[in-house]
Symmetry: C2
Subunit: 463 residues, 2 copies
Amino acid sequence: MHASPTMSLHDALSNALGADRISADPTVAESHAADWSDAPRCAPSLVILPRTPAEIARALAVLTQYGQPVAVQGGLTGLAGAATPQAGEVALSLARLNAIEAFDTAGGTVTVQAGVVLEQLQTHVEAEGWFFPLDLGARGSCQLGGNAATNAGGNRVVRFGTMRERILGIEVALPDGTVLSMLNRVTKNTTGIDLKQLFIGSEGLLGVITRLVLKLEPKPAAAQTALCALGSFDAAARLLKTLRMRLPGLSSFELMWDDFMVAACEVARLKPPFATRYPIYALVETLGDADEDAQRALESALGDMIEGGVIDDVIIAQSIEQTKQLWAARESVGELLAATRPHAAFDVGVPMDEMERCVASLRARLLERFPEQRHLFFGHLGDGNLHVLTGPFADDAALLAVEVLVYEAVRDAGGCISAEHGIGVIKRPFIALTRSEPELDLMHKIKSMIDPASILNAGRVIP
Amino acid sequence: MHASPTMSLHDALSNALGADRISADPTVAESHAADWSDAPRCAPSLVILPRTPAEIARALAVLTQYGQPVAVQGGLTGLAGAATPQAGEVALSLARLNAIEAFDTAGGTVTVQAGVVLEQLQTHVEAEGWFFPLDLGARGSCQLGGNAATNAGGNRVVRFGTMRERILGIEVALPDGTVLSMLNRVTKNTTGIDLKQLFIGSEGLLGVITRLVLKLEPKPAAAQTALCALGSFDAAARLLKTLRMRLPGLSSFELMWDDFMVAACEVARLKPPFATRYPIYALVETLGDADEDAQRALESALGDMIEGGVIDDVIIAQSIEQTKQLWAARESVGELLAATRPHAAFDVGVPMDEMERCVASLRARLLERFPEQRHLFFGHLGDGNLHVLTGPFADDAALLAVEVLVYEAVRDAGGCISAEHGIGVIKRPFIALTRSEPELDLMHKIKSMIDPASILNAGRVIP
């Protein structure tokens, strides 16, 4: 498959990129040994730190020549372990490709290098009255190239879509050293196979994303936030449908079941939002104009829903402070995770018409099998994205049993085992539960065609 | 590449599908001889009319075995000639796969066969309070499979995206007779390479789309419409940005330059909308709630834009009748096309920050070279989608000269030669102007991998 070169890999990379782009320093290697996932730490034998897309392409050509597997690394905030090096791998870091290269302030598009940190872009464009709506907890560390490679989601997908919908153009370095430059800047482009889609969400299996053209939104003047207390999942679904119609500015619709709310208030020492408990809560955010019409439209829609018996109670934030309070329970996930170790944290997709049954059945089965543990349900209802946090567990066997239980339930509901975190190494044993043999075959064929030496993120995603 | 079977193709297809699925009737062949494009008519030697996805897969396996090229046909409304048979081809019609199979009325998703007509779906879901926002002139004939295969756009992309953003799941029959069933029903799914994206917008090169899972929107209670008179393109861009922020329900932002407005009013015998002429007009539509807040929000945003000097004049529709009047000029394109034969009609993408210069330069060069002809500019500004209608032309040489002039200008502006109509056969000679050699190479590799006998829509899209 590859030549047997006489020069060492280190020297070949140094020749191709310059010695200061390659580090064998154990401290540097250690800082590239893991992402945020539970995958086992493993320091890479070398760290490649290119400064340009062309350098990345040259590095990949050398790695292909040597048949040397590489872990592609963005901000190392992934939760599925795709960026954690495996034994024998080198690491390729995008951290030095961090320039915002162009900004169309009339049309609202921006061209960035893949290593730009999400929050850095958000701050940059807001200064010109624009807004990059993708938002997630890792915003201060995660990189846009990684967001693209994992098709990141977050809290605002219900209105603005996932990262895929933000990407107009892409540049990718391929394993053979080709740079595939597709830096399209228009929303509509139907000129042949839309190749960029192959690289979005495929977790670095096919190429290294080096540049992106991203679509912005006008910066909203204000956010409106409300927390709704609901008697049933059915009420939540009806509320969502009505708000999507009446409030086109609806940007978040976060669902929390009561078990989650109780645990969140306990762990984060929050006062429960309502005087009594309810089966389910919906956190609603709209983004748009700052005038009174926007506030009135929200109040009027929620008021009608109370009159119609869909909402049992509601708090509409009247200040920034109150907005923070309404988000506090939803944002205590980090503390909940820490307090529930060792845990299993799931990020699954479930069709809306199966959600209620799936959650009820999962809760019952988890409680039956693990009565001592905490089982918490929350999610982005607008996207069918359910998060389940369950633990602490006695041992790895118990954890595995929970994984099988949850993923099989999701499969039976016609869902998917990962909505937004990706497969990486962590969920690779389970991917065949919701992707068929012919699908996995075609993925393998595409992988072999583009990366015949299998250097890129080998051992991830596809079994 | 393929066997030399002793049985005739007709008999082999009849054996595989049943005799009533194959027609050699010249009248049937004639009705499958052309789509809406200017590609030369050519009757297929046989028409295959399957009733199930499995039958399509069996037909493709036979065609691959015989190395028999096939034109895949939906509603035959394409403008680029992808569905027009070429010499020696048979036709495969999706018309009999026209069932709406499932409808999640809680979550707003629908599973359809590929031959369902767009308008049939729209009517079906509106009865349950849902809305399928993709909309185009061919709605009464075009099929959803064709909409997917061409990634159809239309008037509402600024809010609802193209067909690609509507598609959650897809089922495809491959040339080797495999059915790749990926009928995902959740918005977020990051479980490996998103294979469905390969088939969306690739104009039938890689597989025959047999089923789709589509995402719906809640049915809007009302539409608000306004026509704005503007002094410059810059004013139009500023208006668009402001309205996108202040009116999240903004669903259309159609631009018409004055030359288009004058010609449209003349051809369709319309009264000019304003007492005086303006350089440019924006037709604005919002979809959402029916209450007074929605109307007031539109009035207030447009009022502020007049005060700020961005808009020179505006008409806000006060009735359904007036709404129709405001759309009349924009919807006279069919009459304009008929009155300008032989014409060239372009559907190009231009980045927003290049649009004004590109239109001005194109207009000047067209007028200089063809001073006797009509050159009309309009488009979906929110998507960077520019339509140019120019003619009538003396002969084919003049037409070709115009094509080269327009496509080179679009290339120089960093745009694309087709925003929403696709490449087909008509634009195939020009695709290399805005897709690079490495991109076309990768398209070829993917095509050869999935369709090694090159039976599917051969001679389309990729040179």
